[in-house]
Amino acid sequence: MKPKGTKNSFTERVINEMTLKMPSLSVNEGMARAAVAAFCSQLDPNATEIADIKCAVSEAVTNSIVHAYKDTIGIIYITVKLCSGNLVRIEIRDRGCGIEDVERAREPLFTTDAASERSGMGFTVMESFCDKVRVYSRCGKGTTVTLFKRLAGR
């Protein structure tokens, strides 16, 4: 729920921020979502909001591990910005293979890796647990996923 009179442009002033850098090992998935959730707890989110953030971050990080750095290990950068108006901005960036067709990748159940039992629901989960999801990708250069979530608080 956004505060009254606030436009949903998600461009509020940054109050605090942190950056996390880690290799794309699947063992880091749990740490990444827990670290982001712990940092966001400064804005006093409720239990559902914490669970939403954890799940969305997990999806984005998994995408970088499974798709962007497929068959290789690369670096994943996560930047979390806490903004005024109880807004959380989470940027998950990789220098992996990039997404050929972002629009298609965001379709529910679309996956390029059905053999590894990927459900194709990653972006759909991010979209339904956040207020806005921005994807910027260039083939061969990498992908940046930015999650925006406005917290209602307790």
Binding site: V27, S116, S119, V125
Partner: protein, 131 residues
Amino acid sequence: MTGKNCELDMKEAEGTLEVKLCGEIDHHSAVIVRTEIDARISQICPQKTVIDLSGIEFMDSSGLGLIMGRYALMQKLGGKLSVKNPNERIVRIFELAGLDKIVSIEREKGADRPTPHIANKKRKKQRREKK
């Protein structure tokens, strides 16, 4: 360095394999857990596999892949698969993929049920869709 964040316990009785998962299901743990489950399924060929999710504290879309994959395997063997006591967050993720319409969900008495608040929201949504 395995960093296992999901424990599993398997029991079999009268042609039914019950798999109880505890902890977190993400891409990391799903890969580990699925090999163990599949090994047991192909070993004993159960008529039914029940995946108990009551001990799951976190699940993302990798959990969907895990359930869908086991569902496909059980179908191939001519058996059934059901999911037991998922919490409401898990059900929400199931619903996003329409998995709740494919896999049957069992609930034990006293298990976590959708709160009236969420159930009402769902009903309202269904009414809106009918219109």
